[in-house]
């Protein structure tokens, strides 16, 4: 149970406070309702590049990191296809420093040319490190546009290509800030050894004067239903073949979301899961195999990913995965097995409450989805999933016409 208080400033900034006095620390987490899905298709990777620029100095504070480190704080941020999330951990006694820093960069950035030039280069190195310079690193750069044809989930957070980042201009940066970085487009969670009254005063003092900028209306093209099996085969300099099959599934707020999550757990959560037990251990067809779902706000993907053993033909490997997926559609999962994945979800949620940062991020995310209180009802949503729900969703999702398959074939010389 994560308790919290909630209030909204006159400028539209939503503030949530979670008091946890077992720690001497505080967390300030600010979620901006902007992600890679909000980008122009010709300027992708921008939300993430922008996240880097948020550390390049703000209108009144030339250096963001130094003053925070000086009071014993640490910070970081991440960008996803849906959101951009910034967080600070610092000694609770120095909480006000976080308010000072975060409010100033919400008010305005320094927009330094030097910072833009350097961060373009840093992000290009990140692109190479994570996506280009390691085997299968570009899988998601290929899989997204295979599965999504219309929706902006068709590109990865890092961007479609290096050129989009290299071409980002200061005008683009300013326009992006004006459109998305505003109190009425943000959710702030303050957690840890803090007191709600004091947080309210600090919020009014530092964030209250920031003018609202009006929340833009998001109108994204919905992904049309997929009607044909899709397939991409890559001959690459990789050591082994690799296989990805992606299926369209429900959106985060869809009733079936938790069912999809349990489906992926049945397939690959833990050493007793179906894919691992049957296709790695009993029939040794794969050296490793995993299933996971993207958890995105708009309709997401469930992906099965596996590396076949060297002597296993790719179609044998593929058919074996399909047999497991079709089994979930053909027969209801037993009580024991369903309880098993539910038990794991329950304990994972309880362990998640051990860390204030995780609690703060979760509160912000659930508030974005509509209501932070839903975080505490999450476990019930999982527990109420039935064997029937699982079977129906499996039948609906695990169809060839709903699949996008990406195959890496290893070069002989690799």
């Amino acid at each position: 149970m994560v308790t919290f208080e909630r209030f909204t400033l006159a400028n539209g900034l939503r503030v949530l406070v979670h008091e946890d006095n077992a720690t001497p620390m505080a967390v300030v987490n600010i979620l901006y309702d902007v992600g890679a899905r909000d980008e122009d298709p010709e300027r992708t990777g921008f939300a993430h590049l922008f996240e880097h620029l948020m550390f390049g100095g703000s209108v009144n504070i030339p250096n963001y990191d130094g003053p925070l480190q000086r009071v014993g704080g640490q910070n970081n941020a991440f960008t996803s296809n849906d959101i951009t999330n910034y967080y600070i951990t610092l000694p609770a006694a120095n909480l006000e420093t976080a308010f000072w820093l975060e409010s100033d960069r919400m008010l305005g950035l320094a927009f330094s040319e030097k910072s833009l030039e350097v961060q373009r280069s840093v992000v290009c190195e990140e692109f190479k490190q994570r996506y280009l310079d390691q085997p299968y690193g570009d899988a998601w750069l290929r899989l997204r546009p295979l599965a999504y044809k219309e929706h902006p989930y068709r590109w990865a957070t890092i961007g479609k290509e290096l050129a989009h980042i290299e071409q980002a201009s200061m005008d683009d940066v300013k326009a992006f800030f004006a459109r998305h970085y505003a109190p009425d487009n943000a959710i702030m969670v303050v957690a840890g050894n803090v007191e709600t009254g004091a947080v309210r005063q600090l919020a009014e003092k530092w964030f209250g004067p920031i003018p609202p900028r009006g929340k833009g209306v998001r109108s994204l093209t919905a992904e049309p239903p997929q009607r044909e099996a899709r397939r991409e085969i890559v001959h690459a300099s990789v050591p082994q073949d690799n296989l990805y099959i992606a299926f369209h599934g429900p959106a985060r707020l869809d009733r079936a979301y938790h069912t999809m999550d349990l489906l992926s757990d049945l397939l690959s959560q833990g050493a007793s899961s179906r894919l691992y037990r049957r296709l790695v251990k009993e029939k040794p067809l794969f050296s490793e195999i995993n299933a996971y779902q993207t958890g995105s706000i708009d309709p997401g993907l469930l992906v099965v990913e596996g590396k076949p053993l060297p002597d296993v033909p790719i179609d044998t490997a593929e058919n074996a995965i399909w047999a497991e997926l079709e089994a979930l559609a053909a027969e209801p999962v037993g009580v024991y097995e369903l309880n098993k994945v539910k038990n794991k979800v329950e304990s994972t949620l309880v362990f998640g409450e051990m860390a204030i940062l995780e609690k703060a991020m979760n509160l912000a995310y659930f508030e974005l989805l509509g209501d932070a209180g839903e975080l505490n009802r999450e476990v019930d949503r999982y527990l109420s999933v039935t064997a029937d729900d699982i079977q129906q969703l499996a039948a609906q999702m695990f169809r060839k016409e709903n699949s996008s398959t990406l195959i890496y074939i290893a070069h002989a010389d690799a």
Partner: protein, 429 residues
Amino acid sequence: MPMLDRTLPPAFRPITGFDLIRPRLVTFGNGVKLFVFREGTQDLVRIEWVFNNVFERESQGLLNMAVNELMLEGTSAYSSAQIAELVDFHGAFLVPQFGYDQSTLTLFSLNKHLGNLLPLVKDILTDATFPEAELETYVRNNKQKLQVSLKKNSFVARRLFNKRVFGPTRYGYVPGMADYDRLSDEALLAQFLKQCTADNCTLVVSGNVTDDVIASLERLFGGQWRDETVAPAADNPPVFVPPHALLMVDERKEALQSAIRIGYQSIQRRHPDFPGLQVLNTVLGGYFGSRLMVNIREDKGYTYNISSALVSLKHAAFFTLASEVGVQVTKATLAEIESEIQRLRDEPVDEAELALVRNYMMGAMLGSLENIFSHADLFKNVYFSGLDLDYYDYYTQVVNTITPDTLLRLANTYLDYDKMVKVVVGKLV
């Protein structure tokens, strides 16, 4: 209301210390030590069974790792599949972790399931059987994984670095394909019986550790573990000879980035200069605002990340610096690293930067103590270095009072770029 001056930082308090939770020590009848960190807001526990790695040959690191990982693959009473089912059904995580000096089996569980899980762990730790078929699967899959890892420049650089810095010793050992083929079920079992013994086990338990939990642990792990006991093997570490400085280049013609590793042997935690050297390392490359990050990432944009670290092992220690940089700026990066290290040897760190680093380090320490698990982690750091929690009083004192002159002395004693091993995997341009 006065106008808010946003250019002025709010007042702050330097962090000068932190409160550590001291464990309660329970010693079982068979000598097993149990360190208890109790905090009861959530009904869960983390239980760690820690074993010192036993080496008869310095090149047996893979055998030790395989013992740790394959314990979960079967006992006389339970098959691999049954163990996996029991752990998963009870919502638990049972995780083997292999380190340079210790092998650990960690159980994360809600208290309500311990009655079902602890007897299973007992069975694993006393009666693992290392079935041949499971070993085959393990070898096959891990060779595949190694093949993929060997395509990653940073992985290859770390291996070359360890080998060069520590030579033919346990810390310099890196497993190759052929080592996997040499594993045998007999060797695994023999090593297991030598290493996984009550004499060699330390228990660290954190979370809602009630008296009931302690009693269950004592009942299961406080008596004789096996009918026949094997005499504990003496640990005779070799002499760790400092390596000769060398620039090693492993050229990868298709690389977009070069992985860089630089460093050499250093001092251990129990050396009086250790905390001071940690301060120096923080200045150089130990946090986001470090000189390496500010110069090589934030000023030049050569990399996504660059960092350095000081690692203390049971019998040795090392300093290491790592980055992945665009191939075209590899040489330029090496030159900048050299000049940053040289600057620490030539010029005293100024007071403002030092004050920032002191506060950052104390805040990071405080922040690392956010729950009971982290208190246990800090304890393990010192306990397995042969120290006790008083070490952190000394650490706090050094961080708060070290002077620029002392840092200058430490840089000239412990950071000498010319003597370091430099590894580049990628292209040296």
